[in-house]
C-alpha cells in the first residue's frame, strides 16, 4: 500500500479483529436487509405487472353512471351506451376493433344443479378477437354458448351440455343454450371482461331474452398499436363527450400504473424498515470507532506532535471506518444474493425476475449505502481524533 495511513488503519482493524468483525456484522445485516427488501419489492412489482399487462392494449368505455336525479327518492339509473354513441365510438376508433358487450348476471340450471354466474352477450365474430377457445368451437347457432373454465369444471359441463338460463321456477319454461366450447382461463383480467365464471351467448340471444337492444353496458376498443392509446382515447372522448360527459373512457394502463405506484409505496416502506437495521449498524460502527479513538489517544498525540496534519489523522480514522464498511458490504453483498433469492422464491414463488438489472441493482445499492453509512459514522470519531490537543493526548496512558 502506498498510503501509510491506510496501512495504519488496516493494522488497527487487524489488531482489534474480533471487535471490527462484530461491528461489520451490523453492516452485513443492514446491507442484506436493504438489498433483499428492495429485491423483494421489485420482484413483486415485476410479477404483478406481468400478470396485469396482458390486456393493456384495451380501452374500456362505460356509460358515465354518476348521474343525479332532480327528484328526491328517484333511484339513480345507469344508462348504457346507445347505438349513436357506439357509432361515434366506431368512427373515433378508426381501424381498431370495437367490441360492444352486453352483460348481466343470472341463475341457471344444468342437469339438476342450480348455479349463478355472469352472462355476457357478444357478437360471435368478436369473440375470437380477444378470447381463446380451449376446446369445442365458437358459437355457430343462435342458442350456442361458450362457458368459462371455472364454471365448466364446477358444474361438470361438457361440449353439448345444455344449460337452462333463468330462475328455477316450475311454472315457466326457461330458454336453453348448448355449450359449444369452453374458454381458456384468463385469470385476473384488466379489460373488464371476466369470463372464467361466465356464460357467453350470442348478442342476438341476449337481446331476445334480456332486451337492451342497442344498449350496451361496456364497449371495448382493442388497439392494433399500443402507442396510439392516448390519441385514440382522446379522439373518442372528443367525439362522444362533446357537450356533456356521456361515457367514461379508461384503460388498464392507468390501473396498472396506480397498482404499480401502490406497490412502489410498499417497496419504499419495506426498504425503510430495512434501513432501520442500518441505523443500528451505524451506531455500532460509531461505537467501535470511538473505542478505537479512545484507545489510541496517546498514539494520536504522538502522530500530532511529530508533525502529522489534522487532515491526515482524520483520514486514518475514516479509512478505518471505510475498511469496516467494505468488509461489511462485501460479505453483505454475497449474503444478499443468497438470502434475497430465498426470500423472493419463498414469498413470490417466482424468481424469473431476480437477476434482471432492476432487481439485482439493489445489491450494489445496499453495498454502497452500507459503506457510506460506515464512513458517515466514522466522521465524528475522526474529527475528534484530529482535534485532540497533542500535549494532553501524549500524557494519556
Amino acid at each position: 500500500m502506498k498510503d501509510i495511513f491506510f496501512d495504519l488503519s488496516v493494522r488497527s482493524v487487524r489488531l482489534n479483529f474480533l471487535r471490527s468483525i462484530l461491528a461489520s456484522i451490523g453492516i452485513v445485516i443492514g446491507v442484506v436487509a436493504i438489498s433483499s427488501m428492495g429485491m423483494l419489492g421489485t420482484n413483486m412489482q415485476l410479477s404483478v405487472k406481468q400478470q396485469l399487462s396482458s390486456n393493456v392494449n384495451t380501452i374500456m368505455i362505460t356509460s358515465d353512471v354518476v348521474r343525479t336525479t332532480s327528484t328526491a327518492g328517484t333511484p339513480v339509473t345507469s344508462q348504457g351506451i346507445d347505438k349513436s354513441t357506439l357509432n361515434d365510438i366506431r368512427n373515433a376508433a378508426g381501424q381498431n376493433d370495437v367490441i360492444p358487450i352486453h352483460r348481466t348476471s343470472t341463475q341457471f340450471t344444468i342437469g339438476s344443479t342450480d348455479g349463478r354466474g355472469s352472462i355476457i352477450g357478444l357478437d360471435p365474430n368478436d369473440i375470437t378477437k380477444f378470447l381463446t377457445i380451449e376446446s369445442g368451437t365458437n358459437i355457430k347457432g343462435g342458442s350456442d354458448a361458450l362457458v368459462g373454465p371455472n364454471i365448466a369444471s364446477n358444474f361438470n359441463m361438457n361440449i353439448g351440455s345444455r344449460i337452462k338460463i333463468g330462475q328455477n321456477n316450475v311454472s315457466i319454461t326457461r330458454p336453453t343454450v348448448r355449450v359449444a366450447g369452453i374458454l381458456a382461463a384468463r385469470g385476473f383480467t384488466s379489460d373488464g371482461v371476466n369470463t372464467d365464471n361466465a356464460i357467453i351467448v350470442p348478442d342476438t340471444w341476449y337481446t331476445d331474452h334480456y332486451g337492451d337492444k342497442d344498449l350496451y353496458g361496456q364497449v371495448n376498443v382493442i388497439l392494433k398499436n399500443i402507442d396510439t392509446i392516448n390519441q385514440t382515447e382522446a379522439a373518442i372522448d372528443d367525439k362522444v363527450n362533446r357537450k356533456t360527459d356521456v361515457i367514461r373512457v379508461s384503460d388498464a394502463s392507468s390501473r396498472l400504473s396506480s397498482i404499480s405506484s401502490t406497490l412502489g409505496t410498499i417497496t419504499t416502506f419495506i426498504l425503510a424498515i430495512g434501513s432501520i437495521s442500518l441505523v443500528v449498524a451505524a451506531v455500532s460502527i460509531f461505537n467501535v470507532m470511538m473505542m478505537s479513538v479512545n484507545e489510541r489517544v496517546q498514539e494520536i498525540g504522538i502522530l500530532l506532535s511529530i508533525g502529522t496534519e489534522k487532515g491526515e489523522v482524520r483520514r486514518m480514522f475514516l479509512y478505518e471506518a471505510f475498511i469496516l464498511g467494505i468488509i461489511g458490504a462485501g460479505v453483505g453483498g454475497i449474503c444478499s444474493l443468497v438470502i434475497g433469492y430465498s426470500v423472493v422464491s419463498a414469498m413470490i414463488g417466482n424468481t424469473a425476475y431476480f437477476f434482471l438489472p432492476e432487481s439485482i441493482i439493489y445489491v450494489p445499492y445496499g453495498m454502497i449505502i452500507g459503506v457510506v453509512v460506515c464512513v458517515l459514522s466514522g466522521l465524528y470519531p475522526a474529527w475528534r481524533a484530529s482535534n485532540m490537543d497533542p500535549i494532553e493526548a501524549l500524557r494519556a496512558e
Binding site: L8, S12, L15, G301, S305, G307, K310
Partner: protein
C-alpha cells in the same frame, strides 16, 4: 552561523486556567538560544520545564509575550504552519520514546519522511539514519514492543533526525534507560551536536546536564540561572 538566535523567548508567560484558579507555569521568561548550542534545561518538578518544552516544541503558544523559532513568530502562525514547523524544524526525543506501536522500527523512522514528501521513502535515507544511530538492521522490521528500551530510543532518535531538523528537543531522554544505555544515548546526542544540531535537553539529573554547554535553571516558572 548568524547572530540571530534560533529560538527567542521575549517576556513569555503561560497561564493555565485551572479550577483551583489560574496557574502561571511560565512567568515572563526571556531567553535566547543560538544555533548549534547544547543547552540543558533544569529544575525541580513543577518548575515549568514541561511547559517550556511544549513552547519550544511549538506544541503550545504563549499566553502573552513572543516566541520566535527559526525567525518566525509562533503566535502568528496557523495550526497547519505550526504542524509543518514541528515536522521540518524540530526533532523530538521523549523519555517514553513514543514510537508508533503499529509501525515497525523502520516504518517509525520512515514516517516523518512520508509526512514531508507525501510518499514512501525510496532514497534509503530512513535505513541510513537508523544505521547511523547504531540500530541493528536485523531488527528493523520489529514492532516497538519487541525492542528493548535502548533500541527504542535509538529508533526514536533516528525518527527525530530523519527530516534533518535544526533543533533536537530531548525530554529526559535517558529517564527510562539503565545507566550504561543512557550514556550511550547521550554520546549520540553529543555527536549530533558536533555535527551542527542545536540540542535542548530537559532533565533534573545534574550528571546528565553536565553534557550540555549551558544550563538554564528554572524555578517557579522563572529563569533563575542561565
Amino acid at each position: 552561523m548568524s547572530d540571530v538566535p534560533l529560538i527567542r523567548l521575549a517576556d513569555v508567560t503561560k497561564v493555565y486556567h485551572l479550577e483551583s484558579g489560574d496557574f502561571m507555569a511560565l512567568d515572563h521568561v526571556s531567553l535566547d538560544i543560538m544555533e548549534n548550542e547544547f543547552v540543558a534545561i533544569m529544575g525541580p518538578s513543577g518548575s515549568g520545564k514541561s511547559t517550556m518544552m511544549n513552547q519550544l516544541g511549538i506544541l503550545d503558544v504563549p499566553t502573552s509575550g513572543e516566541l520566535f523559532i527559526n525567525g518566525k513568530n509562533v503566535a502568528g502562525m496557523t495550526n497547519l504552519e505550526r504542524t509543518h514547523m514541528r515536522r521540518d524544524i524540530i526533532g523530538y526525543i521523549f523519555q517514553k520514546f513514543y514510537l508508533i506501536p503499529l509501525l515497525s522500527a523502520y516504518e517509525n523512522v520512515e514516517y516523518p519522511l512520508i509526512l514531508k514528501y507525501k510518499k514512501r521513502d525510496v532514497t534509503g535515507k530512513a535505513a541510513a539514519v537508523l544505521k547511523s544511530v547504531g540500530f541493528d538492521e536485523l531488527m528493523s522490521s520489529h514492532r516497538p514492543n519487541q525492542l528493548s528500551g535502548g533500541q527504542q530510543q535509538r529508533v526514536a532518535i533516528a525518527r527525530a533526525l530523519v527530516n534533518d531538523p535544526k533543533i533536537l528537543l530531548c525530554d529526559e531522554p535517558t529517564g527510562n534507560l539503565d545507566r550504561k544505555t543512557g550514556f550511550q544515548i547521550l554520546d549520540i546526542l553529543t555527536g549530533l551536536h558536533k555535527e551542527g544540531k542545536t540540542v535542548i535537553l530537559v532533565t533534573h539529573d545534574p550528571k546528565i546536564a553536565e553534557y550540555a554547554h549551558r544550563i538554564i535553571q528554572l524555578e517557579d516558572g522563572r529563569v533563575v540561572e542561565s
